[in-house]
């Protein structure tokens, strides 16, 4: 049962990583200061007694391991308690998590749809005019800061030509500009990745063997070369997706997108420690989950991982 053992091993590792990460988050959040003091920083008439009562109510008087255990319990049951100022954290997550995932998936989707065909085309016409154009465009894309590209899109498509909404979450058209912004930025990197990986695979001997069998170029490229190139591409895209979930902050702010990034920035600004602890942990768990999924997909594509 090598497949079963492979999966079990990866799941086991993912659980360990999650535990380590949440432990780290819970520990460092507490290093930023006394939550009771932070909570009451705005009000003037706080006595020492009030602080003690607040600590008691928040469970802060308990030892760290007990607090951590409660925190893990709350994560497992998804009963994340209350934020300082904004009510149930679960309700906040119920909006933020899907919207971040939606944005991340849409951006990745756009990027994949553009970069795979373009990357393959560039690899097949290495050194040709189209390859050079693709490389220059990719370099231009790499040099844009993503918020700047976002603002340009807003200026062009929401203000100069008001075709698409500049912000919000109410209609599906609101998704287009932020997703396009991130999608294009990602494409700049991905197109290069696909090109390099395809060039590498196309130079392998089994590609020549496939041609010598009499296969047409389409089968040679898509069946024999792309599937092998995909092994490295999937790994990279998986890491990128993980990064994306945690790194959407700036673009979410530009487009006023109610995602996890916005939520955690607000939690930091308001020193809302239960919310901060929850958002950071959930983001970390998401990233671990994505990596686990990548590992499993990787095993699916590459028999050398799956079959001993």
């Amino acid at each position: 049962m090598p497949v079963f053992r492979f999966i079990l091993q990866r799941v086991f590792q993912a659980v360990l990583v999650t535990l380590a990460v949440t432990l780290f988050v819970a520990f460092t959040v507490r290093l930023t200061g006394d939550p009771a003091v932070m909570l009451t920083a705005e009000s003037s008439s706080v006595t020492e007694d009030d602080l003690v009562r607040i600590r008691e109510a928040l469970g802060l008087n308990q030892p760290f391991y007990a607090q951590y255990f409660d925190f893990i319990k709350s994560l497992v049951t998804f009963d994340l308690g209350n934020s300082f100022f904004r009510g149930s954290i679960r309700d906040l997550m119920a909006i933020a998590l899907p919207s971040t995932l939606l944005l991340a998936v849409a951006s990745m989707g756009i990027s994949i749809l553009i970069s795979i065909p373009l990357g393959i085309h560039a690899a097949l016409h290495k050194g040709g005019i189209s390859d050079q154009i693709i490389r220059v465009l990719s370099l231009v894309g790499l040099s844009f800061p993503n918020f700047w590209l976002g603002i340009m899109f807003v200026l062009l498509l929401s203000i100069a030509f008001p075709i698409l909404p500049a912000s919000g979450f109410e209609t599906w058209t609101a998704l287009i500009l932020p997703a396009l912004t991130i999608g294009i930025i990602l494409t700049a990197t991905n197109v290069r990745l696909v090109r390099t990986q395809m060039l590498e695979t196309l130079s392998q001997q089994y590609v020549m063997v496939a041609r010598a069998k009499g296969l047409n170029e389409r089968s040679v490229i898509y069946k024999h070369a792309l599937r092998n190139a995909a092994i490295a591409i999937v790994t990279f895209l998986g890491l990128q997706f993980g990064n994306l979930i945690g790194g959407l902050v700036v673009v979410e702010l530009v487009f006023n997108w109610p995602g996890m990034g916005t939520l955690s920035i607000e939690a930091i600004a308001q020193r809302d420690y239960p919310l901060l602890q929850a958002t950071v942990s959930i983001l970390a768990i998401m990233i671990v989950a994505v990596n686990l999924a990548v590992d499993l997909v990787y095993g699916l594509i590459d028999p050398r991982i799956r079959v001993a």
Binding site: Y206, M208, V209, K213, G214, N216, R227, N228
Partner: protein, 612 residues
């Protein structure tokens, strides 16, 4: 273009073929004016050294040049196509028509079996693909046909094999799968491009046997591309010799290899080590290559003084742990070297021979202290090395130097070679000033037969053979008493190989060097070595003088190894029975230790493992 089929035309007739690469304005011509005819059921061998254009010629036949950036610049490749029902010129056939011929009427097997199969598809799917493409077969009929051909190449367990992935197979098995895949559409021409070069010699004998057998059964014509004259002599009916993109000599194998006319063919054949050519002699002997720098009489063969060994290896054992299971416990061990013992004397060459996985390189690396042994002792000029503190052990490293197989990978491409050469001497404090270093570099270069002023050049400006000379020069920089040459000449063309072997012998005579010559090539061993140790699965199974091993081999493995070497005897087909199955590997479960080998003395200094 001739569309009519003249009677009695050759199956494939190549007329004045030229191939060019690069810009049309300044092309590089890599095949220039090659002509040959291939008839039904004949084998034509194209021989030549690297860069001679022999592989490019074969890719031109399949119309695959454009994927490498090349094109047919002139000449015709006339092929009698049954599928297309006419004679066609493969050089200017449409891609659609070429695809009907490729894999179907003309199939090819490549040099590197390890990379010829796509790693992400099963053997069954890769074979089925070819069959589906060219033959109108149902799934189950295709499967039956695939099984039939896997059986023909004598792969055991063909049914299970169909579901296996390439990485689960050894190199020899993969090459047999490639042969089955190439032959499954019963092509009229099989192109085999160095099909056995990357394989062990006993596996090579097996693969060659299979190709010959199937050719006879299926009446296939074969174009056999090789650099190995022994293999060519065993396989070919006709030979075409190529050099630097031009044809040099062509004719029947007996003529070309037996009575070569062109000086190049003569020189090439003189450089081929022939097993058995040294029968009756006791000392190593230089290759006698016409027109080359070292004449045999310049290097007097000195008898070896066997009173004090340079290196004594005693019961050296090296094992590698294989971990498995959820907790990564050690479940198996590779017994790479198991109680290996031998001595090397001053001015002596001990050849350590064996096939892949025999542990011969592990022994070399352990002596060079690149690998820690599990147990055993190593004495260098009588001093026990493994018991010394780490600091002192380092000092001994300079006395043994390593020359690797790959001369391309072992020199820093960004440094002038002079710097690379002198680096070990700096490290060990043997040179202290720039002036001294410069003088030493010049001296080293001259020693290995290169001009002293080449010190400022970079590795890419040298040929493969020159680079190997540089590696030898670097090894000499520390004035070692022992050089470990690990397959040091295996990657070189045969004429270059002969020169490097001659250089090694000359240096030995001049400086009293000892060599541990690690190789799989028995013919070279016969030339260079004083004594030979044969390794099999981590153990030495036979050790003795060169003459004892070659003229009176005792162990069955030694005999098999010697008989597997292709013999340059044109027109005579080999009669050996090839090895069935695979070379086993030296992996064993924890606790399952191999029984220690008992040695029996055959004669003075000749020991063989006792057989149960």
């Amino acid at each position: 273009m001739p569309e009519t089929t003249p009677p009695q035309a050759s199956l494939l007739s190549v007329r004045d073929l030229s191939v060019e690469f690069g810009d049309v304005s300044s092309p590089a011509r890599v095949v220039d004016g090659v002509s040959f005819d291939l008839d039904h059921n004949r084998t034509l061998a194209i021989v030549g050294e690297s860069g001679s254009g022999k592989s490019i010629t074969s890719l031109a036949i399949l119309g695959l040049l454009k994927h490498l950036g090349g094109r047919v610049a002139g000449g015709e490749l006339l092929f009698q196509s049954e599928v297309l029902g006419r004679q066609v010129d493969l050089g200017n056939l449409s891609e659609r028509e070429l695809r009907k011929i490729r894999g179907n009427e003309i199939a090819m097997i490549f040099q590197e079996p390890m990379t010829s199969l796509n790693p992400v598809y099963t053997i069954g799917s890769q074979m089925g693909e070819t069959l589906a493409l060219h033959q109108d077969l149902s799934r189950s009929a295709a499967r039956r046909k695939a099984l039939e051909f896997l059986d023909l190449v004598r792969l055991p367990n063909a049914k299970r094999l169909l579901g296996n992935y390439p990485h689960q197979l050894s190199g020899g098995m993969r090459q047999r799968v490639m042969i089955a895949m190439a032959l499954c559409c019963q092509p009229k021409i099989l192109i085999a491009d160095e099909p056995t070069t990357a394989l062990d010699v006993t596996i090579q004998a097996q693969i060659l046997h299979i190709i010959r057998d199937l050719q006879a059964q299926m009446q296939t014509s074969v174009i056999f591309i090789s650099h190995d004259m022994g293999v060519v002599s065993e396989m070919a009916d006709d030979v075409l010799v190529m050099k630097a993109s031009k044809p040099i000599e062509a004719g029947a194998v007996k003529e070309v290899l037996g009575h070569p006319k062109a000086p190049y063919t003569q020189a090439l054949l003189a450089a081929v080590p022939r097993i058995g050519s040294m029968t009756g002699t006791t000392m190593p002997k230089l290759f006698d290559i016409p027109g080359l720098e070292i004449a045999p009489e310049e290097v007097p063969a000195k008898p070896v003084d066997r009173s004090k060994p340079v290196l004594e290896i005693e019961d050296l054992t090296v094992r590698f742990d294989i971990r498995g299971g959820l907790l990564s416990r050690v479940t198996h061990r590779v017994h790479a070297a198991e109680k290996v013992s031998f001595n090397i004397y001053p001015g002596e060459t001990l050849a350590l021979v064996g096939e892949s996985g025999s542990g011969k390189s592990t022994v070399g690396k352990t002596i060079q202290q690149l690998q820690e042994p599990v147990s055993g002792a190593m004495r260098f000029h009588g001093q026990d090395i493994f018991s010394l503190p780490a600091e002192d052990r380092k000092a001994f490293r300079k006395q043994t130097q390593y020359v690797f197989q790959d001369p391309y990978g072992s020199l820093n491409p960004r440094k002038p070679v002079g710097e690379s050469l002198i680096e070990p001497a700096w490290v060990h404090g043997l040179v202290t000033s720039r002036a001294e270093a410069k003088e030493k570099v010049a001296d080293l270069l001259v020693k290995v037969g290169l001009p002293a002023e080449h010190a400022d050049r970079f590795p890419h400006q040298f040929s493969g053979g020159q680079r190997q000379r540089l590696c030898i020069a670097r090894a000499l920089a520390c004035d070692p008493s022992l050089i470990i040459a690990d397959e040091a000449v295996s990657a070189l063309d045969v004429s270059v190989q002969a020169q490097v072997v001659n250089l090694l012998m000359k240096l030995q005579a001049e400086q009293g060097l000892s060599y541990l010559f690690i190789t799989h090539d028995m013919a070279v061993v016969e030339r260079i070595s004083h004594r030979v140790a044969v390794m099999y699965l981590g153990q030495i199974v036979e050790i003795g003088t060169r003459q004892q091993i070659f003229e009176n081999p005792q162990h069955p493995y030694t005999k098999r190894l010697l008989s597997a070497v292709p013999v340059l005897n044109p027109g005579v087909r080999p009669t050996r029975t090839p090895l069935e199955g695979e070379i086993p590997n030296a992996m064993r479960a924890v606790g399952d230790e191999p029984a220690p080998i008992e040695f029996v003395a055959v004669s003075d200094g000749h020991f063989v493992a006792a057989q149960a």
